[in-house]
Amino acid sequence: MSNVEGKLFIEPERYEFGAAPFHQFELARRDFFKILGAGIAVFAIAKDALARQETAPGHRSFHNEELPKDINAWLHVGEDGSITGFTGKAEIGQNIRTALAQTIADELRVPFESVRMVTADTALTPFDAGTFGSRTTPTIAPQLRRVAAAARDLLVGVAAKEWNVAPAGLVAADAKVTDPASGRSLKYAELARGKTLAQNLPAEDPITPATQWTIAGKAIPKVEARAFVTGKHQYTTDLQPAGLLYGRVLRPPSFGATLTSCDDSVAKAMTGVVVVRDGEFVGVAAPSAHEAQKALDAIHAQWKEVPQTSSKEIFSYLRQNAAAKSEDRFRKQKGSVEEGLASAAHRLDATYTVAYIAHVPLEPRAAVAQWADGKLTVWTGTQRPFANRDELAEVFHLPESSVRVIVPDTGSAYGGKHTSDAALEAARLARAAGRPVKVAWTREEEFTWAYFRPAGVIEVKGGVASDGTLNAWDFHNYHSGMSGIETPYDVANQRTEYHQVPLILRSGSYRGLAATANHFARETQMDALANAAKMDPLEFRMKNLSNARMRAVLEAAAKSFGWPRKKTQEGQGFGIACGDEKGSYVATCAEIAVDKTSRAVRVVRLVEAFECGAIVNPDGLRNQVVGAMIQGLGGALFEAVEFENGRIKNPHFASYRVPRFRDVPEIEAILLDRKDIPSAGAGETPIMAVAPAIGNAIFDATGVRLNNLPMVPNGLRSA
């Protein structure tokens, strides 16, 4: 928990919320009077928002004025038998629309096709803090299961009353309630007809164990998939309400630059163009994207820039500017690291670095905003619709109830779409224009004005006894973050510290957060220690690992990979790495090849075993695991944001390299289904062990240790 300006945030690494909103708009007089008239509403928003942060989403209900006539906030059984599940989570490609519908269908005993999910709409769905942290499957799926179970009980109760029998003997299956004694049955649709049923969620309702799932656990294809292959699905960027204007925002030449003068007279004179200047915000809206660009180009602004740290000196900066105050550190200690290191047969000290990287969602940040009767509706691709709503309400001095945020299924996010930037910009322009406005960021804006996965420096000292026992571990992460920072290995003497450093670039969540950085450092160091102790890397890990789930993924990956493998050709190398985070476990094996003459490194094969408890949808899970492995390749090998004096130097696909088809090796994903363990999320952890597995394989092939991410940025040729 961190406390920023009196607000509590769940995840300590969401740095972006430490920053003030980009824009503070002037309060219009009529809005001011409106707020005076409903002054309590302003407090109510703050109190309300805080109360919600402290209340588990599962026990939160709708505002009274929004309360629909369903059995509770999350599920509705229609008179036609259609089932609608409501969740504040957003579909961003991780396939929750399908997985959550499976969960409801399974528990309610209805066909999968009869369930529809309404997601991420602040007017229709219950409050949700955001789609991040791999939380949807472990938190929302069980809640939907419980409400589905409660709904089923309710329907059984109605049937029992109808037939004047005891509910205990009745059976709910195939979307109907049957009385085995008499053979009578009533469809859910018939039971729901003409009624307004309401029931609170029971605290503990028995739900179906994973071993008895019939619809969950199956490889059901993505719902509405046909709309995606025909181009019919409408992402935020595709929306075109009547009267739409296209908005563009004037960006400073560098981070932190302030506007000193601005001549917008030419732009203002253009037909159909609306120019907005409000504090530091300068934007235009025009009937076409072309005209908006022309208007933007016609604005002549001058800025005062400030000198800033560059990517070349970032690591020394981070090391030198770590917080001295103990409250800005995370610290965990056991035994005596100094004694452990002193008595070690083999001791290794190493420094690892991790560059800033970008999310690069293929759909850039975008929003469409529309005002009507003082109320604001915004469609935007965000992972945090309710936070967007709250920020819009705050910035435009509106009661929360006057803002509605809707998230169309979005062109990916990977932790990169937490903020409200595009929503605020579109809403500001739309208010001035009196018409709906779409702001869709360009790729360059997306690379520059979003936020990044933070860079970091990690210092590690490790000591191993002569029998291969890990007996000392000293781990310091500067800036990149705390996720996955604690070692899963058994070690008597250990110290783990996170050192906060003031932000250089706007930074925030990213798939796996700092777990990728921390696993890269830890698993590379473990490999180096195994080498120092002259032990097989897998054997060394197993010797120091008692966690059965971690051992199981290591064994599964090693078995499929054929570990330990004999080299059959020159330049070949094999590496292994593992980790756990957010309740799931991963082990990755890599085979690489180094070209004899060019020294180019090629990843030949990746085998990954992943375990996240009971699997809800093996097809969707496999897609996500393989996707994380491929995305992990980019950060491992070549992705890095270059910057100097507040400018991003590579804000294009041509200069910021993401994995493409030729980079993709042979991939095998092994999914371990543990029906005895509650399902954990799977969006993040499968990315963590890719980089160290590849790095360890490069060492195996070349004897060269690459301790910096990305490892081979120059077209895989520097190793």
Binding site: Q240, T442, Q624, R660, R662
Partner: protein, 159 residues
């Protein structure tokens, strides 16, 4: 205003009134409401905007509308015929070859273009051909598999 251009898209003719240098992508999306073609970079680097011009896959963000007027254009919206998906669309659907699916229409259009000139591509040829299309979700293996399946389907059905 310049004299109106006429575009032939998916077998229909559309008069277009916009500056001759407007990229085709913006005309398709903003003027004609054909939003299946996506903006991913505006620089011809990601392939999300791919359409067929005279049967050849082209990055519509890089083609001025005036240059697109001479030849027939096919977009993702034009592949489905009488409710039947194109084999490439069907293969993507069958393989679940998407996650967020924002790259999907560009991937499909590029693949349709590939199979028109090379009806039986090897895995290496598919990889090479799709090198200019970005899938950030990492669905590459399924996309390659979908293109192989589509080629198979088209050969079996003699298309």
């Amino acid at each position: 205003m310049a004299k109106p251009l006429e575009l032939e898209i998916n077998g229909k003719r559309y008069p277009v009134n916009c500056p001759a240098d407007t990229p085709l992508l913006y005309v398709l999306r903003d003027e004609l409401g054909l939003t299946g073609s996506k903006y991913g970079c505006g620089e011809g680097q990601c392939g999300a905007c791919t359409v067929l011009i005279g049967g050849m896959p082209r990055r519509s963000c890089q083609i001025p509308v005036s240059a697109a007027a001479a030849k027939p254009i096919t977009t993702i919206e034009g592949l489905e015929k009488d409710g039947r998906l194109d084999p490439v669309q069907q293969a993507f659907l069958d393989a679940g070859a998407f996650q967020c699916a924002y790259c999907t229409s560009g991937m499909i259009m590029s693949s349709v273009g590939l199979l028109q000139t090379n009806p039986n591509p090897s895995q290496g040829e598919i990889v090479q051909f799709l090198q200019g299309n970005v899938c950030r979700c990492g669905t590459h293996p399924r996309i390659v598999e979908a293109v192989r399946q589509a080629a198979k389907m088209m050969q079996e059905h003699g298309r």
